[in-house]
Symmetry: C2
Subunit: 360 residues, 2 copies
Amino acid sequence: MARIYNFSPGPAILPAPVLERAREELRGWRSTGVSVMEMSHRGEDFIGIAERAEADLRALLGVPANYKVLFLAGGASAQFAAAPMNLWRGKKQASYVSTGYWSEKAIAEARLYGQVQVAASGKDSKFTTIPPRASWNVDRDAAYLHYTANETIGGVEFQDAPEADGLPLVADMSSNILSRPVDVRRFGLIYASAQKNLGLPGLAVVIVREDLLGQTLPGTPSTFDYKRQAENGSMVNTPPTYAWYVAGLVLDWLREQGGVKAIEAHNIRKAAKLYAAIDAAPFYSNPVEPAVRSRMNVPFHLADSNLEALFLAEAKEAGLVYLEGHRSVGGLRASIYNAMPEEGVEALISFMREFERKRG
Amino acid sequence: MARIYNFSPGPAILPAPVLERAREELRGWRSTGVSVMEMSHRGEDFIGIAERAEADLRALLGVPANYKVLFLAGGASAQFAAAPMNLWRGKKQASYVSTGYWSEKAIAEARLYGQVQVAASGKDSKFTTIPPRASWNVDRDAAYLHYTANETIGGVEFQDAPEADGLPLVADMSSNILSRPVDVRRFGLIYASAQKNLGLPGLAVVIVREDLLGQTLPGTPSTFDYKRQAENGSMVNTPPTYAWYVAGLVLDWLREQGGVKAIEAHNIRKAAKLYAAIDAAPFYSNPVEPAVRSRMNVPFHLADSNLEALFLAEAKEAGLVYLEGHRSVGGLRASIYNAMPEEGVEALISFMREFERKRG
């Protein structure tokens, strides 16, 4: 069978060497005779795996010492609740920027815990652009300012962290963490589900400035309490050990690729090629303002939307899978996270050209 | 190297054929060329895996049609919060039975959400027995009656579901689900983390009677909302897909073993042999009242506790690993879940006899 390229938005493609190492180590980790799947999270073997993953993440992202790094069960949706529960700290409201589907989800969940002020929204542009920072109306007494660093469905991405007017800046980086450098010191909280650039679903990474901790809302589940988790090495409860291990394998691989700056260059090349192919002919289109196009998720349409089902079927035949757009918007979408090789993008572009030649 | 037997309390031993299948399928599931780790949870391949796991669980446990089965991120500790959040339903208090470490954890978490009435407690016996049902003081107007079906640390286990005085009966079956038959119709809610008898940590199975749903407490995170999860096939958020798949492999294996009744017979044999070995000489001891001894977790002490470190070291040399008692109580503990073969228990008993011969 031809090489398969998996464009799933998440759970998503993993680096081939990561899958190979997971396979090799599956029945027994090193000389232990015990699979990582079967290891007590309190045993020295797993503690070593866990600590190494944290150290690698800290090194790759340059996480300062006054930030805690947590590995928690669940993904970003759980963090949509955990972030306000931990960071509301008696303030009147929290300030959110809406740039699409995931921002809207985060806002709806935050409203379970208090008043949300929407500082800016891309809704008027159907989320094809990000309102310029100068137009935002941020409550300077808000608990924090929340934004979604990358929208997987609309395909818009912040190209830099926004100025936060002195508020703790909170970012959902689920779909672009480790894909580009980030200055962690500018943030109060970064959270990311793992299933795009860090491995398996069911795990979220939380990076939080320690002075923000300790004022959780009443009724916060213990497993969501950042301070308690920080004091217990993310083991208030049994953590998702196997997902934590796979995250470690992904981080190992990323170090071997040269780290975040090197993968960013790779991601820029891949995205530039794909957008150029889409823009080259009216047969394909992407509606997003070029300056804020996502490097990770590239939604596109065919001029004749009746051809999309055929496109998907023939792409699958050609080994290009999971190109369906999100069920809320339809169309097509190519997710090209860190682990997507450049050849995968080139294979997609070749297929697109050939499909256009035959049906255009 | 000799065969390793893993007595970890969880994450715990998996059946060898499950590990082998996971290894075989790791780089590509069937003919897809895509690992289960990389599959979109919305795609037909994963939906098939998910539905089959649910169907197998329903068949193995005999879950009636008016019960929802959910596969949720996190483990029992998250359910310690989710259960009251979903089932409190405006009642004055909830009734809990305390039989050890995990009951106490469940009670402490429930107190975040309202008043807890402790209907009975084994504390006076240092949790070496379960207070007889006739002595319980259950509030007949409570939201529900909660108990911990098996205590992994103290090593006590309910041999049957208690009478609930008409209340919804809620059980934490994390450490004994699928190890013995259970009449699901007697329960309002059963929850279990997966990392003992169902695979990987980071996943909980929830079985809930549907008429109890729809009255969550304000502030319940969406991912904890049983009704929303039930309406969305456990996909309000991205579920822990890989853990769900491994649970399916374990359920497949259990069917091949002949199902729950067959594995129960196996578990009875294993536990009987191990307790008999402990009781045979004063060199070893287990403090639990024989009628409520756990079939899953067998804590024991040496008469000379100074020898315990040596016991652990020599056991590890002999391929018998993770026999440490819980850090809260010390001593030794053998967890012998469904996947522990009888030969593993026999190897432990032989080692114990030899150790006693040399050091007794």
